[in-house]
């Protein structure tokens, strides 16, 4: 085990105001159990889970309420004991609507013992048992996109995982949830790493942490001090988007993931530190993923905190726990300021991927404009994917999706570095997203057409 400095800096990147000091010294604090929880069946990327409970039914904490539904899907569990009040369509953090199980929680949680999976000893359990556990516990990437972890941990037979990269960069402004998990639960992360190493047949481990979290690095060094094998803590330079999968792999291993490929193509698996801690819990305690740490921060909240909240806690409850809103909140963001989603109201509930909830007042927001591009090239210099965001955005504005595709818009990771520096305040990232969506729709249509033609 050793700590090294990353020597590989990717092109571009930006330095947003991090504002992490608002919540970084606040220890993880569990929220009192909310009266109602709204647990969405769409917790992650891929197909929503299939709801298997009915209104009126009483559920225990940890009870399965949504079944895995397809390959890229994870099961969903009740976050607390209570009665299912309704199953209705609710708006999620990203703005789309999905079925959610509304649970009225019991005042006395002790009455109904939680449903746990059988605890496993990772040292004696087989690889398949461990992998099945990761899936059964409903674990998906807790960094942002929420890719089902069990899928990531079962690479195709012709691919071997050589590096397991732990993502502790947390490069999003304001967010400190991962930082607190690294600081307070470094031991869990270590167990998680041992489990994942076993599942992936002993890859080398690289724990990537940005240099602005020295306390976390110290905690990890302590927890990992006596671990065997090829394990390194890689200290990354502070640069957004250091937490992007491809860029982290480059910074930690110097390997370049080709455009359009997954990390496993270069023998890497990247997992968020929070996810790794959840894996440890699922294996050693048999606890399904029913809560997560969310940073509630911003200049619009009275008391910024790192809150341990059950999945399905409404944003209103989170805000109330943190002392409520200050006057003049103009923007509420689910996630960080660079890639998070604006939410229209606080009736939205947390999911497994809700890493933060930010309340911003007038002085921390800005307005987009539709001014023309002046070709200054700041977006080009900032783009970590080395694309030409200016050219892409102009093409999309002219409805010329073909040109946008030719310029490689499908490689865009939507990190927002382009819009961040745009002096014309253009919504470049959004235009890229629009192009990607329309290209995906076209591809899906073509695929359906080809499939139909094949049938005939």
């Amino acid at each position: 085990m050793k700590t090294v400095k990353s020597a590989f800096k990717f092109h571009g990147g930006v330095h947003p105001q991090y504002n992490k000091e608002l919540a970084r010294d606040k220890a993880i604090e569990p929220i009192p159990l909310p009266k109602t929880l709204a647990i969405s069946m769409s917790q992650h990327l891929g197909a929503p889970a299939k709801c298997i409970v009915k209104p009126g039914e009483h559920v225990a904490k940890g009870q399965l309420i949504g079944e895995r539904n397809g390959f890229i899907s994870v099961p969903v569990h009740a976050s607390a004991a209570g009665t299912v009040k309704a199953i209705e369509s609710r708006q999620g953090p990203a703005g789309s609507w999905a079925d959610a199980v509304i649970i009225e929680t019991d005042a006395n949680q002790a009455e109904t013992p939680p449903v746990l999976l059988a605890p496993l000893d990772w040292k004696t359990a087989t690889k398949d048992e461990l992998l099945a556990r990761v899936n059964d516990a409903g674990i998906c990437g807790m960094g942002g996109a929420g890719f089902p972890t069990s899928v990531k941990l079962s690479p195709p037979p012709d691919k071997h995982c050589e590096y397991l990269v732990l993502n502790g960069a947390e490069c999003e402004p304001y967010l400190t949830a991962d930082f607190r998990v690294m600081l307070e639960h470094a031991d869990k992360i270590r167990i998680g790493v041992e489990i994942m190493r076993k599942i992936l047949n002993g890859p080398a481990v690289r724990i990537a942490v940005e240099a602005n979290k020295p306390e976390a690095i110290t905690a990890l060094e302590k927890a990992f001090a006596d671990i065997d094998g090829n394990v390194e803590i890689v200290v990354l330079p502070v640069l957004y988007p250091q937490g992007s999968e491809k860029h982290q792999i480059y910074a930690a291993t110097k390997r370049l993931v080709p455009p359009g490929a997954l990390p496993i193509a270069v023998g890497c698996v990247v997992e968020n530190v929070g996810t790794v801690a959840a894996i440890a819990d699922a294996v050693t305690n048999g606890a399904p993923l029913v809560s997560r740490v969310t940073t509630v921060s911003g200049d619009g909240i009275v008391e910024p905190k790192n809150v341990l909240a059950p999945i399905g806690t409404s944003y209103a409850d989170l805000a109330a726990f943190c002392g409520g809103e200050h006057e003049g909140v103009r923007k509420v963001i689910s996630g960080g300021t660079m890639m998070g989603f604006n939410v229209p109201h606080l009736a939205i509930a947390t999911t497994k991927t809700t890493s933060g909830l930010l309340f911003l007042t007038e002085k921390n927001i800005f307005q987009y404009s539709s001014e023309p591009c002046i070709n200054c090239g700041r977006c080009l210099r900032a783009c970590p994917m080395q694309l030409n965001p200016a050219g892409i955005s102009r093409a999309v504005e002219a409805d010329d999706i073909a040109t946008a595709e030719h310029l490689g818009v499908m490689n865009c990771i939507e990190c927002g570095a382009c819009s961040f520096g745009c002096p014309a305040y253009r919504s470049i990232t959004h235009l890229c997203r629009r192009a990607k969506n329309s290209i995906r729709a076209r591809m899906a249509a073509e695929k359906a057409k080809a499939a139909a033609a094949k049938k005939v």
Binding site: H11, P16, Q17, P173, K246, H247, L256, P258, P259, A261, R330, K331, V332, G335, T337, M338, M339, G340, N342, P344, H345, L346, A347, L358, L360, I365, F366, Q367, Y368, E371, P372, I374, N375, C376, G377, R378, L380, C383, P384, M385, Q386, L387, N388, G391, L407, G408, N411, E414, C415, G416, A417, S419, F420, G421, P423, A424, Y425, S427, T429, R433
Partner: protein, 339 residues
């Protein structure tokens, strides 16, 4: 729960929700600030005439911008300061004795014809100030090439009625007279007229903006420091000019001196650092910028040495502006991770 109602609604926008707070007007202001030393020099050397020319150009640009936006029923864009910058750049590209009405016409042409007709800032294919200068050079050729007041001319011993710029001197006098001169005398000739010192510190004939290279370089340094421009275009431009001149004049010490004259005079620095670097009309990638800069330098020297004009910076940049879309097409960046 009822959604928030009018007056206290949250803003909904797409990510990112953070911004570097840079702005178009800020960039324009930076360029204007960078041009102030050169402008101050021109006021120092040419006096109130410089102030009048610049004032006329800027006023005419602003008025044209405002009127054309009204005519097109679009929002007013004076606030982005691009019209002020165009006016100032145009003024720096005009001789001090230009009749003010001509300067005003130039401003109208720059903004009205070269910018707003194409849709305003961001859409113009050619640098408005340079296009206007080219237009004026053709329309008012006599007034655009009449140089007066100079301390340099006396030292050079040139006829005092109409005086030449250093490049005109090189072209008309140097080529004829110098052919017959031995090398040593040429160097002597150069040092006698203290060409280099004069061009570097100002004190030469020419347009408002080309009198003092030192002031221009100070401005360029400011722009580089503020990251408004990158080094690519100025370095490629001036480097090409210097190398071309060095080879053209025989690759010796004398040629080196002449190369310096070419770099330091005739608006090469003004063009390379402030005009060729215009965002809208130059390529966006580093590679594209280098090609663009080399092209500008090459064309400048071809016009200066082979053409009939003593000066070629403006035409070189305008021609390369036309090539910008083509250069951009072939210099797209390579995606991260691509082989």
């Amino acid at each position: 729960m009822l959604p928030k109602q009018t007056g206290e609604r949250y803003i909904l926008s797409s990510s990112p929700h953070a911004h570097a707070k840079s702005s178009v007007s800020g960039i324009m202001l930076d360029v204007i600030i960078a041009l102030l030393p050169a402008f101050a020099c021109s006021v120092w050397f040419f006096g109130v005439k410089a102030l009048l020319v610049a004032g006329t150009c800027i006023a005419s640009c602003i008025v044209t911008e405002a009127l054309s936006r009204i005519a097109m029923k679009r929002e007013n864009t004076i606030g982005d300061l691009s019209a002020v910058l165009t006016g100032l750049l145009l003024a720096l590209n005009l001789p001090p004795d230009i009749p003010l009405w001509m300067a005003a016409v130039g401003g109208v042409f720059a903004i009205g014809v070269c910018k707003q007709v194409f849709g305003g800032l961001g859409y113009n294919p050619f640098n408005p100030a340079l296009a206007a200068r080219a237009f004026m050079l053709v329309s008012f050729s006599e007034a655009m090439t009449r140089w007066s007041s100079s301390t340099w001319k006396a030292a050079a011993g040139v006829d005092a009625v109409t005086t030449a710029t250093p490049l005109q001197y090189l072209k008309t006098f140097a080529t004829a007279a110098w052919e017959k001169m031995p090398d040593a005398d040429r160097v002597l000739d150069l040092s006698n007229v203290s060409f280099l010192k004069a061009t570097f510190l100002g004190n030469v004939n020419g347009c408002l903006g080309e009198v003092c290279s030192l002031a221009l370089l100070a401005g360029a340094a400011y722009l580089l420091f503020r990251r408004v421009i990158t080094w690519h275009i100025p370095a490629a431009f001036l480097g090409t000019v210097a190398i071309y001149a060095f080879f053209n004049y025989g690759m010796n010490v004398n040629a080196l001196k002449l190369a310096e004259v070419h770099v330091l005079s005739g608006g090469a620095i003004l063009g390379a650092c402030f005009m060729a670097t215009d965002y809208v009309t130059s390529p966006i990638t580093a590679k594209g910028k280098l090609i663009f800069g080399c092209g500008c330098g090459l064309l400048t020297m071809l016009i200066r040495t082979q053409g009939s004009f003593p000066e070629g910076v403006s035409f070189a940049i305008l021609i390369m502006n036309a090539f910008t879309p083509l250069i951009s097409r072939f210099t797209q960046p390579k995606t991260f991770g691509a082989k």
